[in-house]
Symmetry: C2
Subunit: 380 residues, 2 copies
């Protein structure tokens, strides 16, 4: 018997009480008892997103909200900036290409965060740029981009929207769209929201809605305007993912009970402890700076295959972490501490890494990482 520990950066662990809640008998989304559920989650999402604006809900994975953030606000031929500092930043560019949108891609070495001054420079040189598309937390590298600083810059361009993919950031660390000038903020259900995948969200402000009026890219299922009209009637344009919505209602209650400040503090502590544990065992982090509090990307030590570490964690110890993607494959492994995670998830992760690497012949001292984790926790 090997117990299973899901420590990947999405899907993440779903609390058993949420799993059981979603086993609630099917209800009809047009029946009157579903309206109050929608109303409640609508309010709850505004709270979670720290926004006064509507937060749209779609039945899709997070990529659907990414696509909609392009197709609902731009026209073919429009120029935007995308930041490619990892797999998901790269995706912005692919989506733009699919819609005939001209993306100026700012390439950032995977593992580093974008320099806001570079974005400022582009905007100064070309104020016709219609949007800036960034990740708040780049899942593939464990790096956070400084969306507050970027928001400050984009704010002063009335014809430019700032779009932030917060799929592994929202509910992890503080993001204030209304204060920071984030015009579209998106997330998905399977990360800090502690739900299975299948829901995508987008908080959209008036600056973005204004651009929606003239945007000519094709769209139908991800029609944000139609979703907003429906949301305001406490319903949805198309059949919603009802069981996930029921789960969301419950999860929002759990999150509210904990409180945003505590949620952010918990993630900060777990992330710090993970990083200390990794370093305590003599390993190196991928991010040179600005590590995300959602996921920690660790360099595989010289001569060790990151995919082997990931594989052995799973096969020998039942821990599902994540490997590296594309050119980082084999070079890193990633451990999530996002969502339904607490102190012992970190202990498990670091302990698992210690045992696996030791078995692979790595010279680190067993327990040296765990000790540092414990030190962080008892100091807290």
């Amino acid at each position: 018997m090997i117990k299973k520990y899901l420590l990947a950066p999405g899907p993440t662990q779903v609390p058993p009480e949420v799993l059981l809640r979603m086993a609630y008998p099917m209800v009809h989304h047009r029946a009157p008892d579903f309206g109050p559920v929608m109303e409640e989650i609508s309010e709850g999402l505004k709270w979670l997103f720290q926004t006064r604006n509507d937060v749209l809900i779609m039945a899709s994975s997070g990529t659907g909200a990414m696509e909609g953030s392009v197709s609902n606000f731009l026209s073919p031929g429009d120029k935007v900036i995308t930041v490619n500092g990892g797999k998901f930043g790269e995706r912005w560019g692919k989506i733009c290409k699919a819609y005939g949108v001209n993306a100026i891609e700012i390439k950032v070495e995977w593992g580093e965060s974008v320099d806001p001054a570079v974005i400022a420079g582009h905007l100064e040189r070309d104020p016709s740029i219609k949007g800036v598309y960034v990740q708040a937390s780049e899942t593939s590298t464990g790096v956070a981009h400084d969306v507050k600083a970027i928001g400050e810059i984009v704010k002063s361009y009335p014809g430019t929207i700032f779009v932030v993919d917060a799929i592994t950031a929202l509910g992890v660390f503080d993001i204030r769209p209304d204060e920071w000038g984030i015009d579209i903020l998106i997330t998905g259900s399977q990360k800090a929201l502690m739900l299975p995948p299948g829901l995508a969200f987008a908080g959209v402000n008036d600056k973005a809605w204004k651009m929606n009026e003239t945007a000519r890219c094709s769209r139908f299922y991800f029609d944000f305007k139609k979703e907003r009209e429906n949301l305001r009637k406490n319903t949805s344009a198309y059949t919603p993912a009802i069981s996930l919505i029921i789960g969301l209602q419950y999860v929002l209650k759990m999150l509210k009970e904990e409180g945003l400040e505590n949620i952010f503090a918990r993630h900060k502590l777990l992330a710090a402890a993970t990083r200390e544990g990794i370093k305590g065992f003599g390993l190196e982090l991928l991010p040179k700076s600005a590590p995300s509090d959602a996921v920690t990307a660790v360099k595989a030590p010289e001569g060790f295959d990151g995919q082997q570490i990931y594989k052995r964690l799973r096969e020998i110890y039942g821990i599902t972490a994540a490997g590296g993607q594309d050119h980082l494959k084999g070079k890193i492994f990633r451990i999530s501490h996002m969502g339904y995670c607490d102190k012992f998830d970190v202990i498990i992760a670091i302990s698992g890494v210690e045992m696996v690497l030791k078995e692979m012949g790595y010279p680190g001292e067993l327990g040296s990482g765990v000790r540092r984790v414990e030190e962080v926790f008892i100091k807290d």
Copy 2:
């Protein structure tokens, strides 16, 4: 205490064992244990779709697969035929419009089925028509279109694909895409598949894939080619709706155990019994011919409001049926007998209708509908 009975044409009842199965702890979709699940459901879907072709799986409601059936196979300016015999037929036209596709809409009175000869006529006059978009079962009216006869017609046009929305037909009655010349066959999870909403499916054949090569409509999330490439590696382009996939794996086992012939026979019997029960109580069906075995649309008797009937069924008896949509609102109500339904679901529905209408002053004889239902069942 009022027990709840979900007899709407989607979402439909989900068997309790499936609900609990979906409470399975979250697994990671890129971890090796998920591949075999995908492989199994891939095979199971081919069986259910009665096709040799790949059946794509998307995290969305059925409308996503409808949209993808347009955007992946057509270019702006292309001409297609859409059959509008109800709310969902009308949707084809809206999707085409969103993509700049020129839809020749064949309007059919809501409650009637399309005359295949009309489609043949259009194709004869204009062989540049690239596609014919039809519902196998129009959920809003309870009418089945003769997709076998239409397929025979479209088959002989090598540059025209036949696209069938079988969202309330697949797993209800016999549809044979490979034999009947259906090039794209789509469905959703929340109907005869006895699952919550959140998954959409599309079976696509080579004739359609050939059109995909030159189709220039924008698409990203619903990129069928990318999904096929991933499906063949037992994975998906984007994070799948994992809990629903786990449920699907279980549901496919249940359906296989029952067998397609038995599934179709069960739906045929339940539909026939429902129709007899309705007529036995003196009510009239909306469909003049070709009623769908998925859902029965009933005319509200002269002087009675269909919405009131629907409302009272729910409030007094706990039965969630459905009302009419758009101009049929108030004129009809609809009872589903699709998916996880058996004989007593029909008894409950007819009995509920009898009591509600009697209470509203309708002169029918209590029990007269139920009697006819029982007669149908004991003769079977």
